[in-house]
């Protein structure tokens, strides 16, 4: 009996040791199964702190399978750690057929597939949906297309202000940096607990609001690399006026205008603050204001967040920097066994805005219903709970603008995007490029492999540029040391950076 117990113990322990390493062999399947890591922002934007209902996910999965013949499993990201989870998944060898990312990072490491042939064969609607510049941004100089676009050039960092507070204190909605400072001072003095300015260093879709919202007012080229008179591309820190910009941010910080946690914000914190109604001015990604606006209004009756009509301006002109058509898009893993299935699924969503609508908001008559299906008009029935848009793979202006609604829940967001206005030809606020400055190197792709080989101190430069500017803004490093900071950048390889970036810029412009 004793021996039996000992043997049983050994077997159980051995099973335990090996259990974690075992993998589901899976059954031979007749339909292709693909796994998509949906880090395109829709899930975290919709309420990434919760998850979709398993029943609705199962229903959506069955719908996609029935319509496309492809079994699609979706992996949801971790809010704030989207790219880290993706890299872990990719490194672990787990099946991930498609995901969203900056294509140069992955193409340079042979991690993704070129899509020209696949899209030509299966993706006619995908091609017709996006403008040429979006595809150009997703292609290398040889014309190889590495992903399905996620964005068009976009005004992603408008300065949303509380117009109701401006009116309360007999102020005009600020249109210049000086007027904005006056607004901050009045809010700071009269609204205890208010956050005069909520700005972020790193946000979704590469948003760095503190720069993209204001830098253009202080420098000629805004939040952008720029071409100096010597014909070389240089980083934004070397622009005339950048030091004055940092100086001004430091003054605002010291005066208590900038929310002190600006260097460590995440989307959930940002949205909670905005919904609380405490934020007098927002310099984070626009959707932090527009998406939860109905809740913000309901929490704060009478609130009115708007941005200056013609944009904010300063000594050097428009303050906001336009977000160019980026290199972020849906990419297909080089390990994918069914890349054609990914494109077929994407084509299904792009072929009919109604399909995207279901993918975005869940099964019809659940959270929403069609009011006029022919005109693609819908009504929102409930707040967004139970389904976060896990299957919304066709995110981006082309599909989002193709439907329309009069429901108040998303009115602010849809108005900014111009949802339902495609036919009218009216330029929506999100596409009104007259409000900002286009980056000098928009459309230029900087190859990470070249960067790694030609700029040995790149990681150090990245850290120093980020860390020291934060310190200057917070006053942890005195502004008197600015010139030393620039010298330090040169001492750790800024010349390598300038030469490598200039070469890549010139080879593409």
């Amino acid at each position: 009996m004793k021996k039996v117990v000992v043997l049983l113990t050994i077997v159980l322990l051995s099973v335990n040791v090996f259990a974690s390493g075992s993998q589901d062999a899976g059954e031979e399947q007749s339909v292709p199964k693909i796994v998509i890591y949906n880090n395109n922002g829709v899930i975290s934007g919709a309420g990434g702190e919760t998850t979709s209902s398993p029943e609705i996910i199962a229903e959506m999965r069955a719908w996609v399978l029935a319509e496309t013949g492809v079994d699609v499993e979706v992996i949801a990201p971790v809010v704030g750690q989207e790219s880290q989870k993706l890299n872990l998944l990719l490194a672990s060898g787990a099946q991930v057929d498609a995901f969203w990312g900056n294509w140069p990072d992955f193409a340079s490491r042979n991690m993704i597939l070129p899509l020209n042939d696949l899209i030509e064969e299966y993706g006619s609607s995908i091609i017709s949906s996006w403008p040429k510049e979006s595809f150009a941004a997703m292609s290398d100089p040889n014309g190889t297309m590495w992903g399905i676009p996620r964005s068009t050039p976009f005004m992603g960092n408008p300065l949303f202000l509380r117009a109701d507070w401006a009116e309360k204190y007999s102020l005009e909605v600020p249109e210049t940096i000086e007027e904005l400072e006056e607004y901050f001072a009045v809010i700071k003095k009269n609204e205890p607990g208010a956050i005069p300015l909520l700005a972020e260093m790193k946000g979704k879709h590469g948003s760095s609001g503190i720069f993209q919202t204001f830098l253009g007012a202080f420098t000629e080229y805004g939040a952008s690399n720029w071409l100096d008179k010597d014909g070389k591309i240089k980083p934004q820190e070397l622009q005339t006026g950048y030091k004055e910009f940092v100086q001004k941010m430091n003054e605002w910080y010291k005066a208590g205008y900038i929310y002190p946690e600006f260097a460590s914000l995440n989307r959930n914190i940002v949205r909670d603050l905005i919904k609380s109604g405490k934020v007098a001015a927002n310099a984070t990604w626009y959707s932090n204001v527009t998406v939860p606006y109905a809740t913000t209004e309901s929490n704060n009756p009478g609130i009115n967040m708007i941005f200056p009509e013609g944009g904010l301006s300063g000594e050097y002109g428009k303050a906001e920097t336009i977000k160019p058509a980026g290199v972020e898009g849906m990419l297909i893993s080089a390990r994918s066994e069914h890349p054609e299935a990914v494109i077929k699924v994407m084509e299904f969503f792009y072929s009919n805005p109604g399909n995207h609508q279901v993918a975005y908001m869940g099964p019809e008559n659940g959270l929403w219903k069609w009011t006029n299906k022919d005109k693609l008009q819908f009504e929102i029935l409930k707040d967004r709970t139970g389904y976060l848009g896990d299957y919304a793979f066709a995110m981006g202006l082309p599909m989002e603008r193709a439907v329309s609604t009069d429901s108040p829940q998303m009115a602010k967001h849809f108005a900014y995007l111009g949802v339902g206005t495609v036919a009218s030809g009216i330029t929506p606020d999100g596409l009104d490029y007259s409000r900002g400055k286009m980056p000098v190197d928009a459309g230029v792709v900087y190859d990470p492999q070249v960067i790694e080989n030609d700029i040995p101190g790149f990681a150090d430069l990245q850290r120093m540029r980020e860390e020291e500017v934060i310190k200057f803004i917070m006053g942890a490093r005195p502004m008197g040391e600015w010139d030393n900071f620039i010298e330090e950048l040169y001492s750790i390889g800024l010349n390598d950076w300038i030469n490598a970036y200039t070469e890549m810029f010139k080879s593409q412009k």
Partner: protein, 307 residues
């Protein structure tokens, strides 16, 4: 010892060896086989390279190690790593000893149990929850600590974003969570001290402090020494999750340690070979620490982990 004798002994104790087998397999599979992966540090490996590609790829020697050592922030990262490890050694190691001694002095057994139970509780919080609590306590949006500071007439600041306070916050959070659990070994050692020693000391006129100094502490010094060596062996590996969760670019100068650097280089920038080299470099440092502490323990006449 002859082979026949060895076989005989194995035959005799076969079930004991079998019992040992799962543990050995665990260490072989999950602790020793992964060591083969360190060869990535000596090659240029891309994320999707398979084993065959990695083996066939060209050796790059110590390129990645040189790159790390010559990096501008090398000394900053090293000093942060050792500074945080040192602070943890001081506070996270000695605070439980102190607490155990204090708990040992509590005479009411119900109060003693209550204190023990309460002090254990934070240990069961995950790092994520711990970080969430710290954020909630320190946030400038109605955080408790800034509110207290302001109510006392001070100027509250965002302590997690200030390099002057970051380490204090980090170490305090870690100590708070681990202090209770860390007392278990010492309380067990304390329970084994012969009460007659105290009785004799009292007769000789020793007060409570002297009893602690001359009886209690020497009696548990063996446990302290062993725990010290065990802690040193893992000190460079512990605490990085808390740092990763709480730090931000504004405090890199006091918070960026080898592990957070490896995380950024490996998982954010996908520089696997470089990150592996940096991780391997840290492992060598940890090994040196273990050997050194063992030698010191032996030379000072205390227990050592191996001869």
């Amino acid at each position: 010892m002859s082979i026949t004798l060895i076989k005989k002994k194995i035959q005799r104790d076969k079930f004991l060896y079998l019992l040992m087998l799962p543990g050995l397999l665990y260490f072989l599979l999950f602790r020793y086989l992964p060591l083969l992966g360190t060869l990535v540090a000596f090659k240029d490996v891309a994320p999707f390279d398979n084993a065959a590609t990695i083996i066939a790829s060209k050796w790059v020697g110590l390129k990645h190690f040189e790159s790390f050592i010559s990096s501008h922030y090398f000394w900053n990262i090293m000093s942060n790593t050792f500074a945080l490890a040192g602070l943890r050694m001081i506070f996270e190691f000695f605070c439980p000893v102190l607490l155990a001694l204090l708990i040992n002095e509590v005479r009411n057994k119900y109060l003693k149990k209550t204190i023990q139970t309460i002090s254990y509780m934070p240990f069961f919080l995950s790092n994520i929850v711990l970080a969430g609590l710290v954020f909630q306590l320190l946030t400038m949006n109605n955080g408790v600590i800034p509110a207290i500071v302001e109510s006392l007439g001070g100027d509250a600041i965002y302590y997690l974003g200030d390099s002057r306070y970051f380490r204090t916050v980090l170490i305090s959070a870690i100590v708070w969570r681990n202090i209770g659990w860390g007392t278990i070994v010492y309380l067990a050692a304390l329970s084994g001290i012969d009460p007659q020693l105290y009785e004799a000391a009292r007769i000789d006129g020793a007060n409570r402090f002297r009893q602690t100094l001359y009886i209690t502490i020497p009696s548990i010094s063996f446990a302290i020494a062993i725990m010290f060596i065990l802690r040193i062996s893992v000190i460079l590996n512990q605490g990085w999750e808390e740092t990763l969760l709480l730090y931000n670019p504004g405090v890199y100068s006091v918070a960026d340690i080898i592990d957070t650097y490896v995380w950024r280089m490996g998982l954010e920038q996908m520089r696997y070979s470089f990150a592996t080299a940096v991780g391997f470099f840290k492992s060598i440092l940890a090994l040196v620490l273990v050997v050194a502490s063992n030698v010191i323990a032996k030379k000072s006449g205390q227990q050592s982990m191996y001869k």
